[in-house]
Amino acid sequence: LTAAAVFAAALSVAAAPASAAEKLQKLTLSGPFAAVSYPLIHIAESGALKDVAETVEFVPWKDPDQLRVLAIDGKGKVDFIAMPSNVAANLYNRGVRLQLVNISTWGTLWLVSRDKSLKTLADFQGKEVLMPFRADMPDIVFQTLADQAGLDPKKNFRLRYVGSPLDAMQLLIARQADHAVLSEPAVSIALRKTKSFPVSVVAPDLYRSADLQHEWGRLLKREARIPQAGIAAMGQALANPKLVERFQQAYAASLKWCESKPDDCGAMVAKRVDMLTPEGVADSVRADNTAFVPAHEAKAELEFFFGQLHARQPALIGGKLPDAGFYYAPKK
Amino acid sequence: MTRALAIRGLDHAYALRSVLEGIDLDLPAGRTVALVGPSGCGKTTLLHLCAGLLTVQNGTLANGFLRPAVMFQQPRLLPWKTTRDNIALGLKALGVPAGERRARAEAMARSVGLDELALGQFPNALSGGMQSRAALARALALGPDLLLMDEPFSALDIGLKAQLHRLLLDHQAEHGLAVLMITHDLMEAVRLADTILVMAADPGRIVFRAELPVPARRRSEAEVYRSTAELLRQPAVCASFGLDLPAEAGNNGNGDGAAVVPLFSPESACAASGAPSCVSSAAAPSPASAACPSGPACATDAGKAPRKKGFSC
């Protein structure tokens, strides 16, 4: 971990002058256990924002209920919160004061299968596919893509909804199902698990069959990426452009660090989050599709994405496309 | 309010069915009233009204006693308490400290013939008579000024009955308590009560009222038998119990459902005793003797003249 420590030290030294003005008591970051949160964890662990706040804390959220509690107006509990982009739009449309500052995860959806030969969405015709969460974003993306490929999602596939990615993984491993739509890091953990002893004796290997990002690009004829998740600013961060800028820098740096050192990143995350394994995280970092893009630059892609979601399930984004106030734009 | 129980024109109905009608009753301190009557005529209902367990629907009931105690027809012991604790229950409710209440409960238990072993048992391990004695002890332990008892001695053998009669009379002499008791044993009523009220059924009403002027402790056995016999010769009484009227008493008239007849006043008692019924019944069982099975009524010594001792006639 020496590399990480040195890097962190360098970062904090470089940023020192900016903090001289006003230093916050506490900065709270929050996110789900997914790739978007790794940089947040790194920021908290490495002290990358020590210059702007006395303490920097990472608080995970696990389900929509916790997210709702964190997002309550006026409480000012969190400053930066990682979430799927559609959830951010949803909260914004429901009157929560927040702004999307960046998109960092550009798609982590995979069709995982027991059958190596399946490569595209169309190959899964007539097969039973596990889908965690009905009517959630992966489901809608899947349906959109299927439609685009000229297939009826209800007729041409046998979609079996389960309660969580965990259940899907469990069913895959127990050979009760052969195909599932999974997201990182669940995909990596499931693959790891099936390759490792003793599990592989029982279950044959699983494969990353279809990359839904790729299908998105292919079928919708655009770049092969989905603006899936990013960071929203809330509470005290909203009125503090300097803080946001400083955060953007730190986040970009941490994201880069994670991409360049998947194993260190995995170790760090697994240390904070018991539920994830170092190898799983490292694998997912290697596999995922990250790029730091500030929100205003991703606006077009986001609006297209939201438009697709809205067409099928308006409730996913709170009933309408978010207005321009949703996208944070640095004041020049 | 004076220490007395006064009931005037009391009615009671369960749902639409009238069970008691026009009951008048007076029970001053220190006196005993015995209530006899056929099964189901409303005796227990009347007792529960006196105990305040039923709300008065019609008529007045004034109870001036301060510490009433009730012995129910069923023992009603708490099954989860030992006999000792059951007897001490009322004392505990009065706030008597544990040691004293224990001592008083045990003394009272001994006087009704319950031993140490029985005191430690739960009620379901007691015999029927032991349970009713425990219930009696529970009521007496309170040191009540009014004692309402529903067939208190019916589950007891003759020896215990005699012993508890003495106990009750002693208690009464000592504390001057008023007693309202229900019994099916006419002789017991005659032995213990100052006033006997005979009820008839459908609806429950008082059809006969007998006063016994001699104090209970001074009544001789012979007088008890004679008075019982006399009581059983009253047409109203025989009618109430569904007994055939003794042949020679039939002319006393006013059938059943009759108004209250004052009796056992010196004159009427003497008048009644002038009609001997026993010789005939002994010689060849008459309907009367067959119908008066608790019998001493017919067994009074016909040859003897009423004596001036005990009964004042």
């Binding site: 929509p64 429901r94 009517a135 959630d136 969580s164 | 379901n124």
Partner: protein, 268 residues
């Protein structure tokens, strides 16, 4: 027939006595309204909005199929649990050995978190109704079993002796002797189980099903649509109240009629 007639005759008094229940539900709504004013619509929408949403769901026809599916599952699981729990519990209550043997199993059933069963249930029943029904059964069975066991154990020994002496056959012992007594223990167990069954079936659907109220709840929850979430929950609770007050309570009144007479007799 007599049961039905008695049931109909009892309705007016029953409805009248229902005002107390209605009053307390109104109090609950008022409390809800107050809390929603404090916390805001995202956390707790006010009852008006929620019931409007519910009315919308009903009008659009979206509510009935889901409610029907959920009700079917809850009812199946509950009935199975009632049948098995009441019978086995009474048997265990009669035999001391059976009671000793079964008690720890019941504790295991009671204390095992549902996720332990979920995997097995999914293996056995797949995506069919089986999984939620099984989950409901597992949750309700021990509740009813324990009630039936305790009820059987507490029957008055005197009456048992009487039954022995009069040589009641097993069937009569069950229906004329034990059941009327045990029913007073079964009722709280049934009420608990009824509530539990709805709650559990919704949770099971939330975790594992594509349809039913639970699944609808999961969707509205992931959409952060609090009003719809609460509307579904309100639908469940209202159905539950209806089942309890229109079905269970009259049955209870009928079966415990003999107690009422006792009550009326004593004004204490």
């Amino acid at each position: 027939m007599t049961l039905l007639r008695a049931w109909l005759a009892g309705i007016p008094a029953y409805l009248w006595s229902g005002w107390g229940a209605v009053a307390s539900l109104c109090l609950l709504l008022a409390a809800w309204e107050g809390a929603s004013a404090v916390y805001g619509a995202l956390v707790l929408p006010d009852p008006g909005t929620v019931f409007a949403t519910l009315a919308g769901l009903v009008d659009s026809g979206a509510a009935w199929p889901e409610l029907a599916v959920t009700a079917r599952r809850a009812a199946t699981g509950l009935l199975l649990a009632i049948a098995a729990g009441s019978t086995l519990g009474m048997l265990a209550g009669i035999s001391l050995t059976a009671s000793m043997m079964s008690r720890p199993l019941v504790t295991v059933l009671l204390g095992t978190p549902p996720i332990a069963w979920l995997v097995l249930a999914m293996l056995w029943f797949g995506a069919s109704d089986g999984t939620p029904v099984f989950t409901v059964f597992i949750a309700c069975f021990p509740v009813i079993f324990v009630g039936a066991l305790q009820g059987t154990r507490t029957l008055d020994g005197q009456l048992k002796e009487m039954a022995t002496v009069f040589r009641l056959p097993v069937r009569m012992k069950l229906f004329d002797l034990y059941l009327p007594h045990v029913v007073s223990y079964l009722f709280p167990a049934w009420i608990t189980a009824l509530g539990t069954s709805w709650k559990v079936v919704v949770m099971a659907e939330l975790l594992s099903s594509a349809d039913g109220v639970g699944a609808a709840l999961a969707v509205s929850r992931s959409h952060l649509d609090t009003a719809a979430t609460l509307a579904w929950i309100a639908a469940v609770v209202v159905t539950l109240l209806a089942v309890e007050y229109l079905l269970l309570e009259p049955v209870k009144r009928e079966l415990e009629g003999w107690r009422r007479q006792e009550r009326e007799g004593s004004a204490a």
